[in-house]
Symmetry: C2
Subunit: 282 residues, 2 copies
Amino acid sequence: MNNPQLTSEYQSFGGKLGFYSHPSSTCNGEMRFAVYQPPQATQQPVPVLYFLSGLTCTEENFMAKSGAQRYAAEYGLMLVAPDTSPRNTGIVGEDDEWDFGTGAGFYVDATEKPWRSHYQMYSYVVQELPALIAANFPIQPEKQGIFGHSMGGHGALVCALRNPQLYKSVSAFAPIVAPMRCPWGQKAFSRYLGTNQETWRAYDASELVQHTQYHSPILIDQGTADKFLAEQLLTEVFEEACMAFKQPLTLRYQDGYDHSYYFIATFIADHIRHHAIALGKI
Amino acid sequence: MNNPQLTSEYQSFGGKLGFYSHPSSTCNGEMRFAVYQPPQATQQPVPVLYFLSGLTCTEENFMAKSGAQRYAAEYGLMLVAPDTSPRNTGIVGEDDEWDFGTGAGFYVDATEKPWRSHYQMYSYVVQELPALIAANFPIQPEKQGIFGHSMGGHGALVCALRNPQLYKSVSAFAPIVAPMRCPWGQKAFSRYLGTNQETWRAYDASELVQHTQYHSPILIDQGTADKFLAEQLLTEVFEEACMAFKQPLTLRYQDGYDHSYYFIATFIADHIRHHAIALGKI
């Protein structure tokens, strides 16, 4: 395994924020990610919290706009934010659409040509990246949480529901909870996974929750003024599935909030606390 | 006076953040600014705190990256962030340099052609914008504070030192404190103000502090790893002038911090508290 290369570093809330790149064997090319190391990490290994970003984002948006570092420093959590897809793969058309290809990996392992040669974001997030983090940063590998926004909320829910033993906690901001039923998800899944919709179920939180009990309550914040709510996010589909299959869910509709990072920043403290409790830091 | 036009709005920390444009008589064209209205502003007029941004910034950077809204909401302060210059003025070459022209108004009233027809940022920030805010938002016009970053830290210090009666408090992150002595300032002043350096003194905090006592302590945070410190910011020039002329100054060198918004976000809470005290909210 090659060491990640530091491209820039910033002091932040007494800790340090670094941006890295590394050759990924899973994605067959360079991948980028950001890590915030809280001040406590200079003394001892700390739990690690993964944040998966939404469409068009890079590894930077969350670190620049969410304000999460303040709370990660308070509770002693490492934050890791991967990029949202491989980039510069050479696949024809990878940059043509904002909701597919570059910036839109959807956290699946593609099985269809030409995407399958690089777009293995599920395995990258669940396996390669955590191994890389454990090998290079002072973390407690058995203490992981995961959260995300929009497409990344979908990713976080899927990663946690498929691997409850790997993640002590999961939460999401305005997640895509039923990708099989919304245009963004249908477009991405049909081209990354093919037309057999049976294979899609493994990447749909509202399907997964019917077969897996996650061990602790899932926290979701959803703005009522989010313009994607009715057509793309479909929060109530997940809410009904959780209720039917007795999955504990803390779903909070936040009045007047939209889909932006201003919404995320407003409620980031609550999410970090949710994870800090599960990770034994409160 | 024309009403400002709302271009976008976001719920944030129980209040609302709006981005506006308006025809400016001072700058002879459209100007843009952002306003964060804390939740308290729906009940009663609140104090107002102006933030002046640095080179290349717009009215958005501070609102997206500083995390200030959390504390403005806590203490009940309105935040106003103007753009850093006129834009699209038609002046030949306005977009050619990142440290002069567009995005680099330096908060002066230009006297030289061709800039003087639009680049009147000092009068815009001190007079036109506050009048516009008072006429359109629920603020207490006699309760104003001002702060800023880098070029905007210079702007905040100059506005406050020249108008102590207008601003109850002033602070700055990594300000340009002696523009007459640094390359950024010399370049901007010579072209906006002409070659007679006597006229520059009115826009140089380290000169102004020799003739004006500001009524309360000035707060400055400066990162020790800021790559602009030695050549452009010259913090010690202001420190020495304050000491020589008995101006109370709280200057904090922050170990390892650079010039970025990660630095600002780390210490924004302290700055907002500094202003909230002077504005009677703590």
